[in-house]
Amino acid sequence: MAKNKGNFLSKWNNFSVTKLAKFSAIVPAVILVVAIIVIVALGASSGNFSNAVGIGIDFEGGTIINVTLGQDAVDNYDSHSSAIKSTIESFGVEVSYVQLQQANNAEKNAITFRYKNISSDDNAINDLNEQIRTAVDEMYPEMPGNVAYESIGATAANDLLSKAGIALAVSVALILVYIIIRFTLMSAFAAIIALLHDVVMMFALTVICRVQINSSYVAAMITIIAYSINNTIIIFDRCREYMKPLKGMSDIDYCGIGDMAVRDTMTRSLYTTFTTMVIVALLAILGSDTIREFCVPIILGLIAGLFSSVMLAVPLWAAMSKSFDKTKAKHANKEGVTYEKKAADPYDNEDHEYRPVAETKKISGQKAKANTVYKYTKKNTTFKKKK
């Protein structure tokens, strides 16, 4: 890291995600528990679990209220819509969409409001709708009977979720295969676990932040998955590079390699999250409620994605690779083998030579782990100019 100097540099070079792994594992666990508590508490107190989760009108359907106002609906759209909206919301429902409807006959111009029912009992829904209808009707005494309501089903196609689920499962499988081919089995598992973490965390955080889940949420989720797997791959690419000369060796210091890869890609991880976040965050700040409903989950997902790629994927990969090697060694009964092989030159014909030094084992056996990491980077991956 070029720009980190002095004291910070020393701390930075000791920054080890593998040592922090225990703490990083706690964070998602806590978030998940909080989300479950929120769902259970809200669900149990209201008896409506889909509300507790925040499933929106697109998936659940609800009620559409049609207020016929004639030409005035067009002329004074803003004042009418906000007044009626607040009347409706005073009954405890949340208006999801407001729309102007223009008929060929201007007298029939209307403003429609859609909201999700807060109860799952038909009678209760009808009672509430009737109350809302009366209340809105009273706002326009000169136009009696201009308010009508209708129940509407889910606008999101029935198969949206199931198809998205299938697509997710298939793409996870294919991505797994691709990573196994291009990287290693353990990288693939770690990347997929990080990906699943993002899905779960984004959902949990959305629940905690009480953002409604509508059809745009599916798109947000897919974006985050794509984004996060990309993030993880970039870090694993470094691991792959550092692993190249160590091929075929045993007792590799996976933690050291992983930490180094994370440190070397940290600038990029932060910059990229920043450049991606900046537009979405601005949209959330400047945009309307509907836009915010879409942007907040993405922001939460970006944070979850950054966290999983940097803090979780690498420690997982290191731990799994280590135990995988152990199992393999046991099976092959090869435990004694150490570093007789000369490593291949990692950068074909470039100016570097890569020299692993046969002391990793001894060092990693020593007490201070912090130094192990450091020593790995300094000693075992030393770049030496040929000339």
């Binding site: 409807q101 223009q102 060929n104 298939v170 974006t223 797997i229 990229t272 450049t275 900046v278």
Partner: protein, 453 residues
Amino acid sequence: MNRKKSIVVLSIVAVIIILMAVFAVVDFPIAGTVYDYNGYAKTIKLGLDMSGGVSAVFEVQEDEKGDLDTRVDGTIASLQSLLVSKGYTEATVTKGTNSNGLTTIRVEVPDVDDPERVLDLIGRPATLEFKLEDSASAKAYVIGSEHLDSAYVTTDESSNYAVGLKFNEAGTQAFASFTSDNVGKSSYIYIDGERYTAVTINSAITNGQAIITSGSDGYTYQEAKDFATRLQSGTFGVQLKQTEVRNISPTLGENSIRQALIAAAIGLAIIFVFMIVVYRGFGLAADIALIVYTLLLLWFSAVLPWVQLTLPGIAGLLLSIGMAVDANVIIFERIKDEYKRSSKPIETSIKIGFKRSTAAIVDGNVTTLIGAVVLWILGSASIVGFAVTLFIGIILSMFTSLVITRLIIKCFIPLNSTSEKFYGLKRGEADEIADEEEEEKPAQGPVLESEEA
């Protein structure tokens, strides 16, 4: 590349960018024709939330056949696929109940101004019946709503337009027995309870296909198309009665769209400035590549039929810009690293930086690409548009970062090949260079601070 050549290349890039940007927004009549050119950025199709559209409500007619719910669901599915097949991936079809307690089907189609157009799209459902006697009350042997799978425009043997019928499994059997039992007899085709035409059955038709022609002149293409659409809608399991058709405004409202555009503009400006501040000359190259990326993305969104931009779509586009920046960041970080850790000249560092970051960029993007393709194939209609946008975004971001950025940086080198300041590069500090000699040192410092000092 020499100085002259690189100036030429840069100028060409600049001209292309300016042309693409101008063509994105201008409108002009095309000389010598009645057509107008419309800026491609304006022809991007918009979804319901961005542009509104038309909403039509149909009442489902109660009948005696029973199991209405299942048939309503089937009808909704058919309506949806009908709309998707016409490119309206963001249209919604919703089941509801009106105040009379009747089941309704609400169809909302984005980006359409004329309410009549919706009816053209989903057709005025026509019932199709094949009878043996010329009477409205006679027995119908083959019925559109039960037996027809699809109706389409085709041509008959004399190359006139005709309407092709394809029967479903039950329909194929029914039609086969109907025709084989009555070879040589006249049959009557009834549309909406009125005799449409009479035909003589020449032979048994067992392949479940039939063609309806119109007299000797045939249909015009438009007639055939409308008729096919009506027959297609006649395959719906329920009878629909239209109750209202209205224009609907965007759910987002003019304001939100303006706010979103402002947010996007500010965000892009911040990214552009950020890249130049952090990466100087490289940042400039990346910004040029990003402009190319943005313009190409707009163009593809305008010409590809599946893309119907909704709010998520827009945000997806903006996000993909963020991802396009990412590839550049990866490359530049790598170049900085190369330069810092060695004594190579700038040009070599750039070459190696590109070379070593390519694998990471390709692998990262291919995994994302796999996801996009799977969604494209397996996702439901509204997801397909999103998947296509994502797909284009990834391909373009790889193209612009690995090709355009590289090209522009290559052009910079002959103009300025030594300025560390311009490229924002720095050699490593003494201790970092020492890194490379580390192995020679006898004492491998176990404590970091000692080295720092």
